[in-house]
Amino acid sequence: MDTFIQLTLNGLTLGSVYALIALGYSLVYGILKLLNFAHGDVFMVGTFIGFGALQLLGGTTNPVVPAWALLALITLAAMAGCAVLGVVIERFAYRPLRDAPRIAPLISALGVSFFIAYSMQLLFGSELRSYDMFSLSGGALYTDGFDIGNVRVPMIRIITILAAFVMMILLWLLVTRTRVGKAMRATSFDREAAAMMGIDIDKVIVFAFVLGSALAGAAGVLFALRIPTYATIGFLIGLKGFTAAVIGGIGSIPGAMAGGLVLGFAESYAQGYISTRWSDLLVFILLILFLVFRPQGILGKADIRKV
């Protein structure tokens, strides 16, 4: 039972990070119908910006600001940095290809992904970088918290899960309740018709990239709080984020959240009950099954192709 609770907790933490990444894929895919391969690398840049900001603020052993402010600041720095990166990627790598055949922006996205990942490796090397959160406030993030049965729920997991869910709810409110959200939904539904109704498509697309990339940056920091990061981590994490988006139903915001959690739980239980070696395999098989038998995902609507 304790194992089960522990694994559920792991799955929830992991899943909330996956969900944040999946949201970025979904936002962009919903509007541009573009699979943004570079999204995982934006996430990776987020982990590095968080690391850099952490060092600037004195590191975890000797921070110049209180612990809560430290966490908030590095998250905001990563979100801002990634948002800028996302806008630059859209402007220079995707916008010139907007009317090109669909295979062209995909290949361009592969190029962007490689460019970013290996630029980071060029500049900062390929070694692992850990945020070293154990030393923050004498390890309070790991010792504080509450218990479920015999399982300790440490502060660091509570922060990750809460932050991720708060951001997802904010995004959901933004998309469903505001004017710009309405414009995004309209663009996603039919880009040409939206343009004819006076919606500035370019602005909507840029906004989607800002949102998606900022969420990836936040996900990067939340992920790297617990797990060391490296320059080429974006590829695998990006794949998983995309898997989550597909499982939930790509283009759907609640779907991305659901998909992220399903994937997180699946991976965590597979690691706990089957084997850590084969857990990735399970993720891949899950995705292939979904793509083949239910490509619209759990919460997506079936796509009717117009000609």
């Binding site: 290949i107 992904s113 084969w278």
Partner: protein, 505 residues
């Protein structure tokens, strides 16, 4: 393959199709859309001397090109007795084979197959399992290689089977996951239900060398040098595959593939068996990739999961797209160019020469021989000399760091680019990011503003190259591949020799 469409009915259309694809000013521009037109494909031909030359070259038949190319390739071991050069020639021949196979899937079938390299790996592993000490099976090459090709085609068919309804990016992601699946299975395959199948991360060792007509071809000659016989074998296979694929492309199936690529829906409506066509192009690509894998294993005698990573896939994709996807001579040219490029980048001296020549050629190609060119080249040189002497006057340690290989170019660089003895930690990221940012801004400004900006950007590029990139060939080569992919997609999606593509969505 039995086509589901009537041969009689398609015959009148063939003429029209040939007419529209053949070069020449009189061919009707069938189905050109705006995007294609904007990319300069609507030119009927260049004028002037280059245009005349192009006209002449176009008359040379394809087999003459192929024969010349192969003959030149065969000369490599004759001209150079260096084991390294011969080994590189072997690698490039493998790249050419792989590019030909990928061209079937991507260039002709129009399917974005990101799992292609997994079939290469399957070929390599299958050969290792069929001819090595691992299971004690030692099939002769004449048996094992055709068997591996059949295995590759079958797996390709099976992977294509569930993916046949998927299009575009969904297909890309399923195949990409297939590659990940392959890597996970091979890496953890030393304990597959209790059996050691793939040797795990340590791979399979002691695979047999090729055996032809009862003779074993040793991978190395006396003295440990690479045996060029392997290069000749691969080159011979390459010719066979090239010619066979050329005929496939000219056949009914080839035309059906192209129609599938241009518009799958229209093809389906016209009665083409879309699904089996997709599966066929998958199987063809997979079989060729598997075939290439056998030679790599036979030469190195071992096979490891890490040799089939995503990086290799990007290399092959860049080759196909640079050369021009859909064009056989194009992808071969792309394979040769990228293969040589990647080799040159390994060595600091070579890559330095390559860098400065690439910059020079690039600037000349854009500005031709004009006043602007003179301004740019002269301006950059003067800018560099001024900056170098100012920096040298302030502190000699700022300019004394260089001293690399590359002959005259290195001497020039040492007296022109600032290379500090000790590089502060922040310099590399800041200068690199500034370079990327300025290069992006360059695409936004025009006229003399661009030239004014270009001069410091070129100098900065040289600075970054000398100080940051030259010492790290591994990330640098992938960065360059990434830039090539993005640039090609934006400025010349047809590649060097790509055929005209009309995609209407």
């Amino acid at each position: 393959m039995s086509g589901g469409y009537d041969d009689e009915l398609t015959r009148p259309l063939e003429g029209a199709l040939e007419a529209s694809t053949s070069e020449g000013p009189t061919s009707p521009a069938v189905g050109r859309d705006e995007w294609v037109a904007r990319h300069g494909d609507n030119r009927t031909g260049r004028g002037g001397r280059i245009g005349k030359l192009e006209e002449r070259l176009r008359v040379v038949p394809w087999w003459a090109w192929l024969a010349t190319f192969v003959a030149l390739f065969c000369l490599v071991p004759v001209v150079s007795d260096s084991g390294y050069v011969r080994r590189v020639a072997f690698d490039i021949a493998i790249y050419m084979l792989l590019a030909l196979g990928l061209n079937v899937v991507v260039g002709w079938g129009g399917l974005l197959d990101l799992g292609y390299i997994a079939f290469f790996g399957i070929g390599a592993y299958a050969y290792a399992l069929l001819s090595s000490d691992h299971y004690g099976v030692h099939l002769p090459s004449f048996v094992s290689i055709p068997l591996v090709v059949v295995i590759g085609a079958t797996v390709g068919f099976l992977v294509g089977l569930p993916s046949r309804r998927l299009t575009g990016d969904y297909l890309a992601i399923v195949t990409l996951f297939f590659l990940q699946l392959f890597l996970t299975v091979t890496t953890n395959g030393d304990d597959l239900f209790g059996h050691n199948v793939t040797g795990g991360a340590n791979g399979i060792l002691n695979a047999d060398p090729l055996s032809l007509f009862g003779h074993e071809l040793p991978p190395t000659l006396e003295g440990g040098l690479f045996n060029p016989a392997y290069m000749y074998v691969v080159l011979a296979v390459f010719v066979v595959v090239y010619v066979a694929l050329r005929f496939v492309n000219l056949s009914r199936t080839g035309r059906a593939w192209r129609s599938l690529r241009e518009d799958p829906l229209a093809a389906e409506v016209m009665g083409m068996p879309v699904n089996s066509l997709k599966l066929m192009s998958f199987a063809f690509g997979a079989a060729i990739a598997a075939l290439s894998g056998t030679f790599v294993t036979a030469l190195s005698g071992s096979v490891f999961p890490l040799s089939f990573s995503f990086g290799i896939l990007i290399i092959i994709y860049t080759m196909v797209i640079l050369g021009g996807s859909g064009s056989q001579p194009g992808v071969v040219l792309g394979a040769v160019l990228i293969g040589i490029l990647l080799e040159l980048l390994r060595d600091p001296g070579d890559s330095r020469v390559l860098f400065y020549s690439a910059i020079l050629v690039g600037v000349v190609a854009i500005y031709r021989f004009s006043v602007r060119l003179a301004v740019i080249v002269g301006g950059t040189l003067v800018f560099g000399i001024v900056v170098h002497s100012i920096a040298g006057a302030i502190d000699n340690g700022w300019v004394n760091g260089s001293g690399g290989e590359g002959g005259g170019v290195a001497d020039f660089a040492a007296n022109w680019v600032i290379v500090p003895v000790q590089l502060a930690d922040w310099v590399a990221p800041v200068s690199y990011c500034l370079l990327v940012a300025l290069a992006l801004v360059l695409t936004l400004v025009h006229g003399w503003a661009r030239i004014a900006l270009l001069i410091p950007v070129l100098y900065l590029a040289a600075f970054v190259w000398e100080n940051v990139m030259i010492s790290q060939p591994e990330p640098t080569r992938y960065i360059i591949l990434g830039v090539i992919l993005i640039g090609l997609m934006i400025f010349r999606p047809t590649g060097i020799l790509g055929e005209k593509r009309v995609e209407i969505i």
